[in-house]
Assembly symmetry: C2
Homo-oligomer: 212 residues x 2
């Protein structure tokens, strides 16, 4: 079979960013910025388009609807946060203990949310604002991420680092709450994302530990 001189346009676009793909990306970024700033209901397609010097109608060449757009934003946000935490865990030394892994995950997740990552923090903010169908899809995708956390907590419990009277589901949700709420209240300034991440991680880890 002779090699094709050039892959079909569609495939090419999927592989290396052609113009359409690049535009799609900047639309996603712009949408994340506006959605994050205004919330789901107040964000208008006009504002999003204007953010990158386009007109609202043009967005429809790249996305089928407003809902498809939010969904895409949240899908990327979910995947990106998941991947960042996985990477951080992979970067740990081989012998890292369960607590070190949990601590790493907490800090990395929080930094994704705080460090100007519009897509990550917009995603968190939008989860409970988006229309139910979108929310369901995203939550389904987040199950894998949730499973990662469940594993981390079970590992910590097996290592004796979690007091036996705590329910692990409640624990997990309380942790996610402490982390995700920061997407709303955080304003750059007094403390760095790293400082905040450290404090929260310290609190959580300490809170899980069995009473001496």
């Amino acid at each position: 079979m002779p090699a094709l001189a050039r892959a079909p346009a569609q495939v090419q676009a999927a592989e290396e960013p052609g113009k359409a793909e690049a535009t799609r990306q900047s639309i996603l970024e712009a949408a994340a910025r506006i959605f994050r700033r205004d919330g789901y209901s107040a964000a208008r397609l006009t504002d999003i388009a204007a953010e990158i010097g386009m007109k609202a109608g043009s967005l429809y060449y790249h996305f089928g609807s407003r809902e498809a757009l939010v969904e895409a934003v949240m899908e990327v946000g979910t995947r990106r946060t998941h991947q960042a935490v996985l990477d951080a865990l992979a970067a740990l030394p081989a012998g890292a203990g369960a607590l070190a892994r949990l601590e790493t995950a907490i800090e990395r997740h929080l930094i994704m949310v705080l460090a100007q990552e519009d897509i990550a923090s917009a995603t968190i903010k939008l989860i409970w604002q988006a229309p139910a169908p979108v929310r369901e899809k995203v939550l389904a995708e987040q199950r894998a991420y949730g499973a990662l956390w469940r594993g981390l907590l079970e590992g910590a419990r097996a290592a004796g680092a979690i007091r036996p009277d705590l329910d692990l589901s409640v624990t997990r949700m309380a942790i996610m709450g402490a982390l995700n709420w920061s997407a709303d209240w955080y304003r750059p300034g007094r403390l760095t994302p790293e400082e905040i991440a450290h404090d929260v991680a310290a609190m959580v880890i300490g809170g899980l530990a069995p009473r001496p």
Copy 2:
């Protein structure tokens, strides 16, 4: 000055619930239910009115606008939660320590959010969904509530119950996040609000404690 046989209608309405006042109350409750279920943008005045067998237009006899309605819901929610926590604190024995006070506040706040209190949990859910002007007003009202928590944390720190390296503002927001996020994920069933409140309180208190 001879006593009036009957107070003017307006004053009467403000003092003891006349019909208008009673209706106003049930509108607030209905609105909280719908807003909590659907979120700010998806909740329609038609749905709210229908919830209590009214027509959308009739709501305008009681509230000037959709925004005025959400604002009223959130105002009541804020006040009611604040008051519930104050009451719980007041019910403690006189000699209760700083940690016991903090623990009580955590549990009471969480129970307000979880125990089918539509107005309290709708308020939390709406804070970051409502239009900016409404949010600003509500946040302003919540400053007093925030001050209560700041006092609780400072008291705990003075009592030596909080490790010195934790920033109290970050701590406070992390706690509120862990508590408030529950308004979104909690579904009645497996665990009671009390059980959840206990777990979260235990985690938080433990997390603040100085490392031995």
